[in-house]
Every structure is written in structure tokens, then in C-alpha cells.
Subunit: 166 residues, 2 copies
Amino acid sequence: MHRSLKALRAVRRYRPDPVPRALIEQIVDAARWTGSARNRQPWRFVAVTDPVKLDELSRCGAYAVHLASAPVVLVLASVENSFSDTVFDMGRITQSICLAAQELGLGTCPTTFHPEPNVSRVAALLNLPAGWRPGHAVAIGYPAAISSPSAIPTGRLSTAELLHWD
Amino acid sequence: MHRSLKALRAVRRYRPDPVPRALIEQIVDAARWTGSARNRQPWRFVAVTDPVKLDELSRCGAYAVHLASAPVVLVLASVENSFSDTVFDMGRITQSICLAAQELGLGTCPTTFHPEPNVSRVAALLNLPAGWRPGHAVAIGYPAAISSPSAIPTGRLSTAELLHWD
């Protein structure tokens, strides 16, 4: 588990191979056990594979361009309420989704739809019922042989820098 | 990994045994690889073991009472900014922390400090530098033989209820 946590990286380039539907179901089946405030489970997932819709999704965020070339994008919708716990819980289940996908040999990249009009565009594109906000997505696919270069430094702060004892 | 994800549950009752410092360091060392928006790593962690301070922390949230009896509480501080991505990222690393702890035989319970004046109380209690907001904590300890009953239904929605194909 610790090795999986340390190995997880965002993957933004994918082989064109489709991802079997059964694998997406396995990912959700594992991730759905993620805890949430008062066990509200404030999440629903929409799997998108239509290239036209993927292209549209890729235009709904400043860092969403990789969605266009992903074999499948799992859009994460949250209950529209005023709780910051909801956003926090969406982060928790996103980490579960990425770890579950990694176990199946799949690469993932969490993505934020932004600004708010783009979130509304995604909701309209997917015909989401009122009250559900598609604020995030996870692109999923088999990692391409050549990984994407990053403009952002990819290391991490050390444990000594992060952890303090009171 | 899928088994670990499915098995993770909040643990609110702990054996009194202390948690070795090295284990907390191992948890942070694994969780620090969690991704964040633009790799900002907007998190810092303060490990609290002083019973007086734990008691104080347990009074800083409506559902924080279990913090008083935890051998160690890892307070999660985030960079104070206006990004909702920050809260989302705190959720991601919280899930990593809970999974990393489970692997070491430890039980965990994520906790929200609330309302905002309580967050300020926690910041003062821990002498956090300005600009860091301790919005959450994870209680950590060896699970007690008798688990805590829950007033909230503990099951989860099915994959069929959660996942839709566009």
C-alpha cells in the first residue's frame, strides 16, 4: 500500500486502447467505500467515452486538455450544497479512484472544471439532474510509453518539512 | 489495494497504547506523494499527543469528541487561500493518510474543526504560523476491541446507483 501511494503520479498521455467497462465498474466498486461526512456519499459518477463529448470536456478547464485524448473520463458530480466538507469528500474519493485504477494498470489524472460557467457547461453536456455539480473529473487510460513532460516541478517536500511534533 | 480501499472504516475507539513516532513518520512519508493542484502541496501536519491539548481539540468540532481519547492526533493545516482546490487536495491527502495508517494496523478517523472560530482556536493552541488553517485532523490509534456504534447508517450505495454511462 505504501508503495502504491508513493508510486501514484498523474498520467496525462494514454494509449488509444479502450478501457473495458468492467474495469471502470471495479474502480467505482472499490472507491465507493470511501468515507464521507456523516456518510452522506455526496457523489455520483458519469463515465464518458464519446470523442465529441471528451473534446468538449477538454475545453472546460484551464488544465483539462488531456481529457480529449483519454479513452474514458469519469466525471465526478457532487451534491450542490454549501458544505466545504463536500469538496473535501470529493477529494477523498478522487484519491481512492486513482489508487484503484493504478492497481489495474491504468493511469489517471484528476482535473478541475473551472471557472463556474464551465461547470454548468459540463452539467448541460451530460444532462445531469438539477442539484448535481460536476466540479471534477478523472481521466483514465493505459499510460502511453512516453509520459508527458511537466512544466511544474514534480518532486515533493520532505517528511521533515511537512511534519511537526507539538 | 482494492481490498484495503473496501476495508477502510472510521475508527473512533482506540487502545491506550502509544503509537510509535516512527509509524507517524512512515504515514506522512507515504502520504506526502499525494498529488495536488499544480503540485502546490498545500499541507502541513502537526502531531499532537499531549492529553491536555487532545482534550482541547476534542472540543473544537461537533463530531470531534473521539480526539480526546486518541493516542495521537495529526492536525492537517492548509495554506490559507481562496482556492476550492485546496480543500479538495486536503481530502485527497486525508484518504492517503488513512490508507497508509491502516496498512500499519492503525485505525483512523478524519475530523473537521467547525465552525470557523474553532479553527482559529486550534491554530492558537498549536501556535501555527499565520497563513496556515487547521481545518481538519486525523485521529490515529490502535483499534479498540469494541468498535464504536454509529448513529449513522454505515453501508454504501451500490455501484449501479453511483455509476452512469453517458
